[in-house]
Subunit: 209 residues, 2 copies
């Protein structure tokens, strides 16, 4: 990086470079590692260029968090919605995604987000938005399954908050140290199945986790 030939890109390209670099830094080393100089170095560019495009670093951090959170939600949403018709199977797919291993880096980003949001107002706002989006997505699944009679979810939003909050805690836990992942996954499925009063006929499916 010491003496690169200076290349000139369009603002759109450069902006994309900056966001991409910031995103990967956040996933690798945490949100607090998304610093002007770190991003500049990864892009291969002078530090001043970063603030030239971003105005305030706090905003970049908030946007990076939004990118990561939305990308994750979109991915889980796509996976879940690919399961059509069978609402019970949709819930099981959702739970599998929620506690899956590869959520590790994302879970750490959420952890950083919670912690940093106390000192970064924009981040705090984005965090609330994204958490709400997650809750509404999960609540929608519950509400549709309830309407279809596949299970019972009279309070879909409250239950969604419970499931999201609890699984967040569990992924954060397993992101930091390993052990008991299988038992935890089993408890999650068993718990949610009971809360949804999933009929006994579907028990074999839930028991397979």
């Amino acid at each position: 990086m010491t003496n690169q030939k200076r290349v000139r890109k369009t603002p759109e390209e450069r902006r994309a470079d900056v966001h991409s670099a910031a995103r990967s830094i956040a996933l690798e080393s945490g949100l607090s590692a998304v610093t002007q100089r770190a991003v500049a170095e990864r892009v291969g560019v002078a530090p001043a260029l970063i603030t030239h495009y971003v105005s305030r670093m706090e905003l970049l951090v908030a946007e990076v968090f939004r990118d990561i959170a939305q990308e994750e939600l979109a991915s889980v949403r796509a996976t879940v919605e690919a399961v059509e018709g069978d609402e019970v199977e949709q819930v099981l797919t959702l739970l599998r995604e929620l506690i899956h291993d590869f959520r590790r880096d994302v879970a750490l980003v959420w952890l950083d987000g919670w912690s940093l949001s106390r000192r970064n107002d924009e981040l705090a706002g984005v965090l609330v938005e994204e958490a709400r989006a997650w809750e509404e997505f999960v609540a929608g699944i519950f509400a549709r399954g309830d309407a279809a009679g596949a299970f019972s979810a009279p309070e879909p939003l409250a239950l969604a908050r419970f499931v999201v909050g609890a699984t967040d805690g569990l992924s954060a836990q397993s992101a930091v140290w390993a052990g008991y992942e299988d038992e935890t996954a089993r408890y999650v499925v068993e718990t949610v199945a009971a809360l949804l009063r999933i009929p006994a006929g579907d028990a074999p499916r839930t028991a397979s986790y």
Copy 2:
């Protein structure tokens, strides 16, 4: 604080002052606010005196976290163990403590701890120790209740990890924004009661939450 008369205390007293100030700063403004100058100002002393007693600030942060975590665990332990004989009631008391409102500041400290532990090895070590202590405490309650036949907990440690992880996530959630606390508390009790197969005769008690 500009021009206090210089007072000279014994190392033990001063050390206690420093720890106490650092503890209250952590509870009020987070672990990352526990800085050399902030602690010095609260104690009413020159910044140099802090490092004179602590050697490295990272260590002070780790010790403060340990203090707070141990104090909280001791408090909950005392409350739970005050309920003698009735194991079901012990579990209900535990759950009430785990999701109680005043855990808010402590929950934020845990959040900071998780986030900071990536860059502070001592803190990471303390964090793991304290989390293990929590899990063992909860597992002990489950194991004793199982042995007494009050409920069924064949995997007390795995279940303890599940309960602690999930309630951590839920307190973190409610520490950042409000809403649905009552429903959440109800779901927690309902969930754990089902997982422990608490006999139907105790349902009225669990339903009151």
